[in-house]
Symmetry: C2
Subunit: 193 residues, 2 copies
């Protein structure tokens, strides 16, 4: 890893939570300079423009989320246990709290009319999240945990939708209760699969 690569990564990691919190338009270069302690010339030596930093910030946030989620899921065996662990990790929201909220929601809501490249990446992240849940359900069907009639894609969409919806509501209400209730509902529903 060259010096430049390390600096680039450093900037992304420092900038990401700020951009996630303040938004792409709301976070200024001064904010990023302050957070990194670097001068403007250095930042522009490593990025084309602010938009590129925003895009990379979203990539970093989503990738690091997946990484920490996978690390959390790793000890659990069996697709059903993994799915429950997935729900519990979402409920705990440690990564989210550290990073200033769910990046899919924050970047998704802002990018849809203004930043097509970011929007495209958000889309991909939603897709792969849904696919991951789908694959967990499918495994569960194979292993006999769930009925063979289970419509895995549809139920995965439902679970993901409930989680995203509950995450926004809980964040705006500044109250974990709603997310807790929804996670409990999902858990109960899984038992009927």
């Amino acid at each position: 890893m060259s010096k430049a690569e390390r600096t680039r990564q450093f900037i992304i990691e420092k900038a990401a939570p700020i951009i996630n919190r303040k938004g792409m338009a709301g976070a200024s270069l001064s904010d990023i300079m302050e957070a990194t302690g670097l001068a403007k010339g250095c930042i522009y030596g490593n990025f084309e423009n602010k938009d590129e930093i925003c895009l990379e910030a979203f990539n970093y946030l989503s990738q690091s989320y997946v990484k920490s989620m996978m690390a959390h899921l790793q000890p659990f065996t069996g697709s059903k246990a993994k799915l429950i662990a997935y729900l519990d990790y979402t409920l705990a929201g440690k990564h989210r709290d550290e990073m200033g909220g769910c990046p899919v929601i924050n970047f998704g809501a802002e990018s849809d009319d203004t930043h097509p490249a970011v929007r495209e990446r958000v889309k991909q992240v939603i897709r792969s999240s849904r696919e991951f849940i789908t694959s967990l359900l499918r495994e569960g069907v194979e292993s006999g945990d769930y009925s063979p009639d289970l419509n895995c894609e549809t139920q995965a969409l439902k679970i993901y939708t409930l989680l995203e919806g509950a995450v926004i509501i809980s964040r705006i209400e500044n109250n974990r209760e709603q997310l807790e209730q929804i996670v409990n509902l999902i858990k109960a529903e899984i038992e009927t699969f």
Copy 2:
């Protein structure tokens, strides 16, 4: 309605869709001047500052949404028919499309860390939406449409969460299909109530 009041309202109505699309930080005063055709002095003669315009824009968006929703629901009789009509109106998303997306999501995602007054209003709108669905369910229980055991608050939260979640996903994916699927799931679930 005085001249000033009319102008104030005019500014709000023209600015709201822009702020909803570009975000509070992303929409500039020049944008608002262009959309209204008014000069800066006029705008600042009617508002304290940009933040006030943003707050009023959210109020306008949410109130006009409620109004058009109620107008749509009016012809239907019976709480169950009204609930289905509520879902269908959400699915159609006419108001949302005209205004540049769901204001609860757009303003909610942006305000949570930066605009406490807006956030508070978004919170209230979420509350009253949930309460409205709850009351429809409760009416349905009274009239015998649903089982007396139905947990109206919880199911209302679930329905609202699914709708908000599906609205974001469909908007980012730029595809009505996900929202359609979710609305169908909700409709099917109502039948089991």
